[in-house]
Symmetry: C2
Subunit: 272 residues, 2 copies
């Protein structure tokens, strides 16, 4: 591609002062009328990496305070600690004088991260080839809202998962699938916050419908993804206290673990 | 008890300005010469909850910048957002003008959190009764360092786990056990950061020795623990990129899920 990808155009940050950036959020990453939380996080992560002058996120946490809206965004980025191998910083994402998201993260340079001990007790999700996996739905259950976000990705869900989209919730709190940008952009670490938040909520498989708002999301990056398809699996084990955790793993085309994430989200009451 | 517990004495924070607190860290929670990271986080969490005027942490993330030392601590606590059901804040833990830990967290009131949907795909760890579980070691493998922290808890490890303490690393990255304060204090939400960080690192079971420094730890709280023993299980699945994740679950005496945590730590090279 000689043109700028959708993702890079829609998450670009411009430095306006040593500790301040601006960006313009689009509505192309919406779910219903609100931009996806992972998209807001991806914008803030770009400001973090720019401020810290490090290429790769290592551990990044976002607290979602109020929904970001399409439009202009101001980002205040602080260096918390600039160390030798890692640096830590904080970003406030503000619109109309109101803070929408606060991000605290440590960044590094993952060059050579493949060296050293590898001990995995589990591997990439077992998926039929992409052509045998149905395309992920951009709809909420019951047609509650359309997701423009669905148009940004080529997302192929395991045929046994996402039963809710067929009107048959499985009761299994797991969803796995293939994912890559629809416009041919190759995956990289910048894309990961929106990748781990792009799949439908696991609790849809309990017959729950409606919004499952993320309160907090933490992303741990282990390696830069290779070009090609990513495979993701998202699992929840515990719905209680009005909350659910969603644990995501991201694997690349070379079977390497790229990232782990966990988010905690509010669970609406099931429909009776 | 009519006296103040070790934990409450050693994590007390005093308000010195609307957004500033002080505390005095002791060496009773040390591992080697450095206070345990969960102990530093527990001090910062107390300042967070005091500043937000909410009783219960919901999701709290700490980035460990430099080791806290025993001695005086200054805490700067900011209200990020005071909402109706939750509030979000940030705490900087500073010693000698140097920031040691930064904490970003959302707090709430968990009264009534037991109501609503409960859907668990897993339960508390399967443990023999406490009297059939050996006491957890306060030592590092190979006698590298003593842990004063070990004296703060009555910690009983599953007899099949912690093989490294018998000189027989199991290769299984899982450790489960019973835990409660040694002085009879009952568990509560304030204690959770140090509970989830009190067990020996899972990678000791790979024959790794030495420090496994935590970079970041996120705690999700679901319920206030009932009095009595807590059961914890800590699992790692992926050692790669020089890092390992440790996922902890905390269950109370009424078989309720109290908290989930995940930390990412640096893995030293294995000893040959």
């Amino acid at each position: 591609m000689s043109t700028v990808s959708e993702f890079d155009a829609d998450t670009a940050v411009a430095r306006v002062a040593p500790d301040a950036y601006t960006a313009v959020a689009t509505d192309r990453w919406n779910v219903g009328s609100v931009p996806n939380g992972g998209y807001a996080m991806a914008i803030a992560q770009r400001a973090l990496l720019a401020r810290l002058d490090r290429p790769d996120p290592l551990s990044v946490t976002a607290h979602f305070l109020r929904p970001m809206q399409p439009g202009g965004v101001a980002l205040a980025a602080e260096i918390v600690k600039a160390g030798r191998s890692t640096a830590t910083g904080m970003v406030r994402l503000v619109q109309d004088g109101s803070e929408r998201l606060r991000l605290l993260g440590t960044a590094t340079d993952l060059t050579g991260s493949d060296r050293g001990l590898v001990h995995h007790t589990s591997g990439p999700p077992d998926l039929p080839p992409p052509e045998d996996c149905p395309r992920g739905s951009g709809e909420m259950p019951g047609g509650a809202a359309r997701a423009a976000l669905g148009g940004r990705f080529d997302l192929r869900v395991h045929p046994d998962h996402a039963g809710w989209a067929r009107g048959e919730p499985t009761g299994q709190l797991e969803i796995a699938g293939w994912i890559r940008p629809a416009d041919g952009r190759e995956p990289d670490v910048l894309l990961l916050p929106v990748v781990v938040d792009a799949f439908p909520p696991t609790v849809f498989e309990l017959g729950i419908t409606g919004w499952v708002p993320t309160l907090e999301l933490t992303l741990h990056v282990r390696a830069r993804p290779a070009p090609g398809w990513l495979r993701c699996v998202i699992r929840s084990r515990y719905v209680s206290g009005g909350l659910v955790e969603e644990d995501a793993e991201v694997w690349d085309a070379q079977d390497r673990l790229v990232a782990l994430s966990r988010q905690v989200a509010r669970v609406p009451r099931p429909r009776r």
